[in-house]
Symmetry: C2
Subunit: 303 residues, 2 copies
């Protein structure tokens, strides 16, 4: 696909602030997004791709930093999501740290990064921000909304909140709500970040990430991303150096996997975003009709 550019949409001015599920307002809001392919004259060929927890707007092609998109295997000429036929849109979620407004963004009222002043958001709030982008692009009805994991939650939320605006939906490896076990893991993930003195109650910007806490958090996450069975198939009890070390180092191959994933993540993801996004996932629950209808009341169309 070649070079792609990440664009940004900004909702400015009080009437366009997002009214969040919590009742708080957020604005101005910037949304980082990319598009691939061409919108047809009928505006009927748009597909919205929703990213997972640690993803971003850069789903395909090579961006200005020379990085390949995270779904390069699926999006492009002749690929499953064929850019000769479809107009593909991907945006970074609000609360994220990849160009859209999140806890590291500057709060215009204080002239400092929001940090924990950023409001707690929900999957519905992420979708509401996406809806404004879709409105801005002049698309009445998406041909498809697709995404995996937290992206799949957004897909389910789209269908639930705006069924009239979605022709088809592909939620992949997603839940309509977290079971208590996953809530428990996410709670420990957040507490691991907050236990790191370098977290400084969220106000660490300019001073360096709470790397150790974020590393523990991410390792917990990575265990939950694989099933017991897939770990058995991939690692079993294989040893890194053929024998027990009798020291507190990585003995098993599975330890090395966690360490690699962790180191990779700590460099590229904001710790506060991890707090906000995991909380949004824990709050997601399509079983509660009251919650759903409340949510709809609180997110009127501003466009």
């Amino acid at each position: 696909m070649g070079l792609v550019e990440t664009k940004s949409l900004r909702f400015a001015g009080p009437p366009r602030k997002l009214l969040l599920t919590s009742g708080r307002r957020l604005g101005p809001v910037s949304l980082a997004y990319e598009t691939y392919g061409v919108l047809n004259n009928e505006r009927s060929n748009a597909i919205l791709v929703c990213h997972a927890l640690s993803g971003d707007a850069h789903a395909a092609g090579i961006n200005g930093e020379g990085q390949q998109g995270w779904w390069e295997a699926m999006i492009g000429s002749g690929k499953a999501f064929d850019t000769n036929k479809w107009f593909i849109i991907c945006s970074n979620v609000i609360g994220g740290c990849k160009g859209s407004t999140g806890p590291f963004s500057v709060n215009l009222q204080t002239k400092k990064p929001y940090a924990l002043e950023f409001p707690v958001i929900t999957i519905a709030d992420m979708v509401e921000a996406q809806r404004r982008l879709i409105n801005y692009l002049g698309i009445e009805r998406l041909f498809c909304v697709v995404g995996g994991s937290m992206g799949g939650m957004q897909v389910l939320q789209w269908v639930s909140s705006y069924p009239e605006r979605v022709h088809s939906a592909i939620p992949i490896a997603a839940a309509w709500r977290h079971p208590p076990q996953q809530i428990a893991f996410n709670e420990v993930i957040r507490q691991a970040i907050m236990a790191d003195p370098a977290w400084r109650k969220g106000s660490y910007y300019g001073l360096g990430q709470p790397k150790k806490g974020l590393a523990i958090a991410r390792m917990i996450g990575h265990i939950t991303f694989m099933s017991d069975q897939s770990m058995e198939e991939k690692f079993s009890r294989k040893l890194k150096n053929g024998d027990y070390s009798f020291e507190f180092t990585d003995d098993f191959e599975v330890d090395g996997y966690l360490r690699y994933r962790r180191d990779n993540f700590v460099k590229r993801f904001d710790a506060n975003s991890y707090l906000y996004i995991t909380k949004a996932m824990d709050y997601f629950d399509l079983s509660g009709e009251n919650f759903l209808s409340d949510m709809k009341k609180q997110t009127p169309a501003f466009w």
Copy 2:
């Protein structure tokens, strides 16, 4: 059962040092233990109870600190393990922090607590120390060895290493080896402790526990102690205060469960012991015949 006393057996002098699976020697070694009931003349009514990760020698009765034993429901006059009939023995594992030699014990060579100078031990080493206690008590053959979780691992190890000395065995909720998922959780548990600056590379004695890291570690452990299904039955997605807080506090009942368990544990368990004991569990693997036979070579009978 009334008041019970915790006794201590000490293996002193070089010939009685424990030769560990690692090849290192440990000594002198103290073992804290309790007994309930009376050993009969034939010495044939002895039952060894093995405790789980965070347990101790105080399995039944009321000790000097007024605490009930951890298996009070099962051990006593007229109970499942009837002290009118059986002579019950329970000892704290080596590597522990409840009276037996562990990382917080004073290393006679340095006159300071071992901390990370303490050797990495195995379940087989724990059992070897128990075997010396059984020898000391003059018991040739145990009527039964019983224990749950890590206690069950010790039971399996007894049967595997000393089948001639065990008449019957009751391993409860135990594995003959950890799958990679459990190894991964234990690795993160250890890293959570070691990531806490208060851990000070293990040399925190006299300066206070690495409470925050230990708290994260224990919460991870507690998630793995329950199945997804039992968490669903016990907590589901029940909220503590009826509604979402939209703050980073405990919203769900399952969070409160973790917090309670964690606070309880941090007060009473040594962080370094947690490192050593989880490592021993990860190393436990009865599938490797080589490992088993090596172990037998390295743990000759000193008594």
